[in-house]
Symmetry: C3
């Protein structure tokens, strides 16, 4: 018996989605392939499929969100699941004990999945450790730790445009230090064998030992963007920045805001990405955000297909018989 | 090529519903006929039809509302659509730029319809100008400008009781100046060829040049209600009244509140209407509101059928081939 | 013609569920049997049945609630009904008049059921007196008066474990005085012919003349729990307690909190119940709440089946023809 990843079941299949770390290349590719099946010819999504009919999905958002919450809700509805939005009474959940009581009650109501966003790193893991065997947990962002469905929709969008990952040069720009999105993107892209992954930020926004993750660090935009196939801009999370790590928004834009002029050093068919919502004129210029190389809105569309894929995969695992179990090992 | 109304598609069919102005008589009649098909014998509505299965309808209410929001939600659900209620974060939408970003994101999520209520006149038009070609916008009330589905349900209710519009005398009573409901009712009733349309209000609540719309102005209730077939009372929108346009509520009721005594000069089979919610004892006496000539609750019921009609018509337009296109011109 | 209970229709069938009082033994058993049909082998509920497709159920919660509101919402969705959650604007409903106007509007929208929770005793009755003939009202808790679905899920849970009610000794522990749950449980258990029903509480929390309801009063836990088959703990409703009826939480726990040590005098197969949410260390020790004799989470699961049963029974009454009507008298 080997020690198993918390997010995999006894057959090695995805049961929870908590983080990209520890997923095998093939598991990531399976998710992308499944997401592809939810996109039909002409970029029209299959709007309503009965895959999760009768299942109950609970959105537990302890942090405010519009885009992520809405796309999870739409993904669940388009899979024909029932969706429950719990109004989080923060006062009732300050003690971990009460949170666990609430979760046990939701389990007793035969809920099947918790989609969790929480300001504390590790919150989704903690919940996954305590849920009943039939329940799946999806991490919709925990503190500075991980945001796996965002990273998956990002690489899904890249694959739809570029095909292969190995030859690509991808630059992630902005507050790497505080970004759970960046962390998940780095794990996804390195697992997929990307040849040149770069992070670009001022020194104060680069975490120590980030090179250990397999990225190259740049502090200058024109150097970092040179010959890039993909540029991923991060949202400047003003509320997460403590103290004087940053100059003014204007100075930040001067140094690290993405403009057509800075982008000129990248490849001519460079893709510009952003997880949204964008701060126009802070981390990205409107001309770029709304320009022909931006795929920002396509990322939003793809987010629904990717979330449908993850939800249907973790809840749709058929029980395995002994023989196929043997074969799967 | 003639310049087309923003709310019509290239074949002249209803794509958005923003205002009654500019609709042809036949288009209005088509909506009423479709609404009729959602009412079955015995005033029982067909509760659930699969017409909009797989479609996503977004309620974007920037102004508080219970009745309108709820009937739009019920109409959408009874058409089997998925309904999304967006919690408007006013701080995120103070800049028009952010509002448009939010709309683009909802479009990217493959939403099909925005039902918009907003305190600013023209808000629904502005949104309709910017949405993608496959999206429809329904105006659920914009500032003092228009409230077309309310006017449609009102004339639908009149037609169910009176049949023909041409011979009718209809009096609209109250704050004509600030009422988007009155404005839409006037356009609907004049388009339908009503012979005698009256507005009754104190001088301070009558807009300049209102006669140009084809109405007769009265300042005295007994004169204005004389021989009326239909009386439409408006809600006194206290929050919209600036300064000292009005005397006290009691004085207003004295002059313009609808009582059995004032109603005695109308036809004996007069219908009493009100868009709700009613201010009892301010613009209408409870004896009248709850009396046998009141159709106020019937208006609410009809509102669902009319909204189902509009929603299914704008989203259900089949693509036209060249031949039928020619025929439609 | 005999005077009929407000909650029964002209054929004696359940139309509303307002209180357990006045229900016949067979009516209660019918509800339990129907609930049983919603539980399949292996405690898996049938998740989605089309029984109430096309029906609209409105949750009118004037008091905060998570568990009860959520289980009613889930029960409705699993019966395929459309569910409407009304945001109660307390300012709009301070006058009973406005509340009734709001209800009439919801009726006009062809809603079929109001699930009502309200801080005033009698609120659900008041609403039931005013609704149109086709509408059903379910009391989800009114003041200190009644909480009938909670009592039904409690006896349903007891029956699943113990089978017969007659031979049982059941002890209800805690704030009997202010508890609508206790009141409904006492009516249910006495109607089912339980032989020994006990309430245990300090004198200040026992209502006068409670013995008239058929219960035995104890002020000492070890005496009251002696030989008990079932112990039902009540939540200490701190917000409902006025003045100095109680000592400190610690002293209360000392006297009336359920611990393994106090529970030792009960039968060895005693069931421990609690309507939730539990106050750990106040009315119940965590060791007991999470222990093998606790069925607290099973109560939550059963709550969905019982609410599905009540909803489908009151809305699913087929019209009776003359003959069967005669037979039913």
């Amino acid at each position: 018996m080997r020690r198993r990843n918390l997010q995999l079941d006894e057959h090695g299949r995805l049961r929870h989605l908590l983080t990209i770390e520890g997923l095998k290349r093939q598991q990531i590719v399976d998710i992308l392939d499944t997401a592809e099946s939810f996109i039909t010819v002409g970029d029209q999504q299959v709007r309503k499929v009965p895959l999760l009919r009768g299942k109950t999905i609970v959105n537990l958002f302890f942090e405010a969100s519009t885009r992520t919450l809405t796309t999870f809700e739409l993904a669940a509805k388009r899979l024909s699941a029932d969706v429950l939005k719990i109004n989080i009474n923060t006062s009732a959940t300050v003690k971990g004990e009460s949170l666990l009581d609430m979760l046990q009650n939701l389990e007793a109501m035969q809920c099947d999945m918790f989609v969790v966003r929480h300001g504390d790193s590790g919150a989704a893991h903690l919940i996954a450790q305590h849920v009943a065997p039939h329940i799946s947990v999806i991490n919709a962002g925990d503190g500075r730790h991980a945001h796996p469905t965002q990273a998956l929709l990002d690489i899904f969008t890249i694959r739809r445009h570029k095909g292969e990952f190995a030859p690509l040069t991808v630059a992630i720009v902005g507050d790497i230090m505080h970004s759970r999105v960046a962390r998940s993107q780095i794990h996804a892209l390195t697992t997929l064998g990307i040849s040149d992954l770069r992070v670009i930020a001022p020194k104060t926004l680069i975490p120590a030992q980030v090179e250990g993750l397999g990225v190259h660090v740049y502090h200058d935009m024109k150097e970092g963007l040179h010959n890039a196939d993909v540029v991923i801009m991060l949202r400047l999370q003003k509320e997460r920045m403590q103290g004087a790590l940053l100059p003014s928004e204007q100075e930040y834009f001067q140094g690290y805001g993405l403009t057509e002029e800075k982008l000129a050093v990248a490849k001519t068919d460079v893709m510009v990405m952003h997880p949204g919502p964008i701060n126009r004129g802070v981390e990205i210029d409107s001309e770029v955000a709304d320009g022909p190389r931006s795929v920002i809105l396509e990322q939003v569309s793809n987010g629904i297909a990717v979330r449908m894929a993850v939800m249907s995969m973790v809840l749709g695992r058929p029980p395995m018989d002994k023989e196929s179990e043997g074969a799967a090992q």
